[in-house]
């Protein structure tokens, strides 16, 4: 089972991304600098950004092709952070983008304007990939702030997948700008969309590994994949993967067609992150069950997918949080408005 592919430009992009990330697969937890160089060289690192920001002007559907592949191969790069979040926020705010990988955070920093510029002070928690970033874009309640590595102190932290989620302390100069209208809401939706796509990819990765393993592991004289009990479990996992993937791609499609802040896109992103988050647990559980004890070891690569599924379903809004938003919208729509809500534009 593969992600949604077709023969269009997005299909070609998906193939390119697939080959790049498959090549880069490997264990370890550190930033994959070689992969990042390849992504920059092929225009994928700033895929959706405008040319003026060094980007390739791709659509969210293009981003879907790249991020699902990144998720499927457990890529150790801040791709969604650079392209969908920090790059977008800085460019919108009129701050020049530093070269290299970027990350973004939302948090409360004290911003003081001085004669020579701004100084900021404060602490940000669980910032993704900050130790590898050439710049940290921060949305504070009052300003957009760009922090440079030389002005921050980083304490390492991690999520369930051992991806960097650091504490960042700053007390020094920074570039700041006015907050573009609607930036907070858009940043939240972009983060959820990116995470949903990564989740769909990781779910596919776990399924592919499980199907391959079931074809190789021999018990009772034949591959366990020939046992109907195992087949039925893998079929359930495939259904969850298909649902996560369809939901994430549909949300990306809505964002491409209607813009990120259209009410229909907002609903789609909420539903997609929630559905992908719900799929994550089921897929990880079945993948581990099918792998037996070997999959429960550090040595085996299955954990690269499953720990990401567990980590990412909580990040950028858990399924509980997004479902609560979808549910609130449904209750606001009422009995007669529910169906029109689901079908979107009339």
């Amino acid at each position: 089972m593969t992600d949604t592919t077709d023969t269009t430009a997005t299909g070609e992009l998906a193939e390119l991304a697939e080959s790049i990330f498959a090549e880069a697969s490997g264990t370890g937890t550190a930033f994959d600098a070689a992969l990042w160089k390849t992504l920059e060289g092929s225009g994928l690192a700033r895929l959706t950004l405008p040319e003026a920001a060094g980007g390739s002007e791709g659509s969210f559907t293009d981003a879907a092709a790249v991020l699902t592949a990144a998720g499927a191969h457990a890529a150790r790069v801040p791709l969604a952070e650079t392209d969908l979040l920090a790059g977008w926020l800085l460019h919108e705010a009129g701050i020049a983008l530093p070269a290299g990988p970027l990350t973004a955070a939302t948090g409360d920093l004290d911003v003081a304007d001085t004669a020579g510029g701004s100084t900021v002070r404060g602490e940000l928690r669980r910032v993704a990939w900050s130790r590898a970033a050439a710049g940290i874009a921060v949305l504070t309640p009052t300003r957009v702030v760009l922090l440079r590595p030389e002005h921050v102190t980083i304490t390492d932290g991690a999520n369930l997948a051992e991806e960097p989620r650091d504490t960042v302390r700053v007390d020094g100069p920074a570039t700041t700008a006015e907050i573009p209208p609607g930036a907070a809401e858009q940043l939240r939706l972009r983060a959820a969309l990116g995470r949903a796509l990564l989740l769909a990819g990781a779910a596919r990765g776990a399924l592919t590994a499980s199907v391959t393993y079931a074809g190789q592991r021999i018990q009772f004289g034949r591959p366990i994949g020939k046992l109907q009990a195992v087949q039925q479990q893998l079929a359930l996992a495939a259904a969850e993967v298909a649902a996560a993937s369809a939901a994430a791609w549909a949300a990306a499609g809505a964002a491409s067609a209607d813009g990120m802040t259209a009410p229909s896109t907002r609903f789609a992103v909420a539903a997609a992150k929630a559905r992908a988050g719900e799929a994550a647990g089921a897929v990880a559980r079945i993948a581990h069950q099918v792998h037996g004890a070997i999959g429960f070891t550090r040595e085996h690569d299955l954990r690269l997918s499953t720990t990401r599924l567990w980590a990412w379903r909580e990040e950028d809004g858990s399924d509980a949080e997004w479902n609560a938003e979808v549910g609130a919208a449904a209750l606001a729509a009422g009995a007669d408005g529910l169906w029109p809500l689901v079908t979107g534009r009339p």
């Binding site: 089972m1 992600d3 949604t4 592919t5 077709d6 199907v211 079931a214 074809g215 994949g225 020939k226 109907q228 195992v230 087949q231 039925q232 893998l234 079929a235 359930l236 495939a238 259904a239 298909a242 649902a243 993937s245 369809a246 939901a247 791609w249 549909a250 499609g253 067609a257 609903f267 789609a268 909420a270 539903a271 997609a272 929630a274 559905r275 719900e278 399924d319 509980a320 997004w322 479902n323 609560a324 938003e325 979808v326 549910g327 609130a328 919208a329 449904a330 209750l331 729509a333 009422g334 009995a335 007669d336 529910l338 169906w339 809500l341 689901v342 079908t343 534009r345 009339p346």
Partner: protein, 380 residues
Amino acid sequence: MPPPVDLPPRAAELRAQVRAFLAEERAAGSWVPRSDVWLSGWDERFTRELGQRGWLGMTLPPEYGGAGASPLDRYVVTEELLAAGAPVAAHWVADRQIGPTLLRFGTEAQRRKFLPGIAAGEVYFGIGMSEPDAGSDLAAVRTRAERVDGGWELTGTKVWTSGAHRAHAFFALARSAPRDESDRHAGLSQFIVELDSPGVQIRPIPLLTGAHHFNEVVFDRVFVPDEMVLGEVGAGWRQVTSELAFERSGPERFLSTFPLLAALVGELVAAGATGTEREIGSLVSRLWTLRRMSLAIAGSLASGNAPELAAAIVKDLGTRFENEIIDAARLLVSIPPDPGAEGGYPRLLADAVLHAPGFTLRGGTNEVLRGIVARGLGLR
């Protein structure tokens, strides 16, 4: 999954027309919204109304009474009807699978005979596949077709035939050549059997509610003329499989209990209940996702593909979702089910609970569907 599909802009206009018509019908009290209407909501007046509006057999070419519309247009109409809980059972099988199958495999004479009536909402069909010893293992059918002068003679028994007591005809899958153990799918053929033919006996098999829906259809040397053979003699298996593709991924595979979900939202709003957003949101996120998947398959079918694996996945997820709605409806409000109520929440819940066993059986059981998925994954 096939690529995502966006409905064409004209779909919005069509949808608005269907919604306006449904609002009129409901205002007039012509019918009450129910659960599982495509199984049990038999209303020939309503079906003819749809026919007059051009909403049946929509994808058929105009010379057969259709509108030459795209399957996505038909999708819009059917999902609106199902979501409203409208009584669509009379034409369901004919509109969904008989029309397209006749168009694909039928002779010109067969098309002229049946298609205009299907599009008008006046000719109803059943499905004559299952037998006492051939359920999931459909290739085990034993109904025999013997060659006779000018046609075939059918002898055997079909079971679980939905609506046979009201339908005009069905496609019977029968063995036209002796069984060959090395190729179990060979030697099967499909016959168009008019259900008032001499030698056809139709007996009710009451559902657990007592309702008459299912039938046993017994053939005792029923003559079927050569003109009523469907497609090729011996190609029955291939034809039946292609017919099933229309059966598995449509909106009826996840909307059977949607009217109950809408009513549940209505009850929660009326009671001013808070704290149920997550449960409702989870159902709605699932529903939205299923619809996107099902639409993608409809788009793929429209461009001539047969996405069997994706269709099996939608039916497996969708029919389980129909059951999840029932659980939420039981647990989030305490309104007891009442099968005797005229309508409303108690009746929607009662019908949903009592019909639920069928959701994951009809059209191929979920276990069998997962077998199809496993084959698609390369495991079998």
